[in-house]
């Protein structure tokens, strides 16, 4: 205590100077949007740097596990690529039997698939993450310098993890899927049943698929993926698997669908920041169609 008092007595001028400067700047930032953004960018870079240093240390001790995960992801991608190539060959080989109709269809499918697959993917590492509040966020070590911008999706090898809400030069902040404000257009794979996917705030490993009419037959184990209809995520990114389906108490005529999330947010580390290839077109259309 004495040392603290001695310290305060010795440096009170410096502390007064810093306090006055801080107060003046906060006044400026509170009344001016540009200054506020400049300050948040600077603050994001500083906190990002500190969090990155911490994450570097932790990652150093987890390198083995990370490498294994990356290898597993590479293998999965290679298999998926092979399967797609086989499917493509099958479609093309059937073309002469249908007087050109299938050939045309295959070409059209090719071009659509090529465009859908042509989304930007920026690799990044999660340097800060939370999963214990109702409004969770995560920070990643890629920013506007790498092309990251607000509105991009955040996905990991396991599936959808969040959405970028602000981007500094070297770091970006994303709204986690575990955030009550997070919603994304989703569908049940193979059945093309559409719905809205969100988190209900109870468990960090479960989400909900909402607004699916009860005449659709869905069963536990069905896969829920992004529909590609939102301007954030491309199509077919995994959200999770249905764990239970029952009539909704809240909305009559709809299912209440609980989904086991594919991403484990407690071990989330490497992610990709992706952008829907149709984002520009969708964003352009929105103002004209919005009420």
């Amino acid at each position: 205590m004495e040392r603290l008092l001695a310290f305060l007595g010795r440096y009170y001028n410096l502390m007064l100077f810093l306090a006055l400067e801080l107060f003046a700047y906060s006044l400026l930032a509170n009344h001016n949007e540009n200054q506020r953004q400049a300050f948040s960018g600077w603050f994001l870079n500083v906190t990002g740097w500190m969090q990155e240093s911490n994450a570097n240390l932790v990652a150093y001790f987890n390198l083995d596990e990370e490498n294994r995960e990356l290898q597993a992801e590479n293998i999965r991608l290679r298999r998926e690529m092979n399967q797609l190539q086989v499917s493509l060959k099958k479609i093309k080989s059937r073309a002469p039997d249908t007087f050109g109709f299938l050939a045309l269809s295959a070409d059209t499918t090719d071009s659509l698939d090529a465009k859908a697959a042509d989304f930007a993917a920026i690799p990044a590492r999660v340097i800060s993450n939370s999963a214990y509040s109702n409004y969770n966020y995560l920070a990643v070590d890629a920013g506007s310098a790498e092309g990251v911008k607000p509105g991009m999706g955040v996905v990991s090898a396991q599936g959808v993890a969040g959405m970028v809400v602000s981007a500094g030069e070297e770091y970006a902040m994303a709204m986690s899927l575990l955030n009550l404000n997070f919603n994304v257009s989703a569908k049940v794979k193979g059945k093309n049943v559409m719905g809205s996917f969100g988190w209900k705030g109870k468990r960090a490993d479960q989400g909900a698929l909402m607004y699916v009419p009860d005449h659709y037959h869905l069963v536990p184990g069905d896969t829920v993926v992004t529909s590609g209809y939102s301007s954030i995520f491309p199509e077919n990114f995994l959200l999770g698997r249905i764990s239970s389906v029952k009539p909704s108490q809240e909305h009559e005529g709809f299912h209440e669908i609980i989904v086991n999330l594919s991403v484990d947010f407690h071990t989330l580390d490497f992610v990709y920041l992706v952008e829907n290839p149709y984002k520009t077109a969708l964003d352009t259309l929105k103002p004209e169609t919005a009420p």
């Binding site: 100077f17 006055l20 700047y25 400026l28 930032a29 001016n32 200054q35």
Partner: protein, 170 residues
């Protein structure tokens, strides 16, 4: 007590002159005069630092009430007053803190006054334009250069008229 009242009156005079006169005398939105910082540059060196800081903060904050960017003036005034002692030590080599307190600013030569005033004004203008434009660009550099020259010339003129000519007034 009389000295304090005199500085109180000077404080009000500089503030009113800045807000009602010099605020409207900018040149093409580039060169903005801020001669009120002369009040801070000529604060008695015997004052305690907390007194200087509070005087600078009050002057800046009151001027800010009439500006589009509240807080910017207060920030820059406090910064200049904080740096003033270090700058005085730098341009008076060999002087200790006690010697600085004995320094009579009004009795110094014209060259010394220029050396003392211009760099601190430059710091003020640089901080001010970077703060209100929230960026570092050629336009900000132009505003900084023009305003430093404008404010510096005015401050030097006022220093000659109101401080140096009458010698020690503290």
């Amino acid at each position: 007590m009389i000295e304090l009242a005199r500085h109180g009156l000077l404080f009000i005079a500089y503030l009113l002159a800045q807000v009602f006169v010099f605020r409207h005398l900018d040149v093409m939105n580039y060169a903005a005069p801020h001669p009120m910082i002369l009040f801070l540059l000529f604060l008695p060196t015997q004052w305690p630092r907390w007194g200087e800081l509070l005087a600078a903060f009050s002057l800046g904050l009151l001027a800010d009430l009439f500006m589009k960017h509240p807080g910017a003036m207060a920030f820059c005034c406090v910064l200049v007053v904080w740096l003033r002692r270090y700058w005085l030590s730098a341009i008076q080599p060999g002087m200790g803190a006690e010697d600085i307190e004995e320094l009579k600013l009004g009795e110094q030569s014209n060259g010394w006054l220029l050396t003392y005033i211009f760099p601190l004004i430059a710091v003020f203008e640089a901080a001010y334009f970077v703060l209100i434009d929230a960026e570092i660009s050629l336009e900000v550099a132009a505003k900084f250069g023009a305003s430093t020259a404008y404010t510096g010339a005015l401050c030097f003129l006022f220093a000659l008229l109101f401080y140096k000519r009458k010698g020690e007034r503290r």
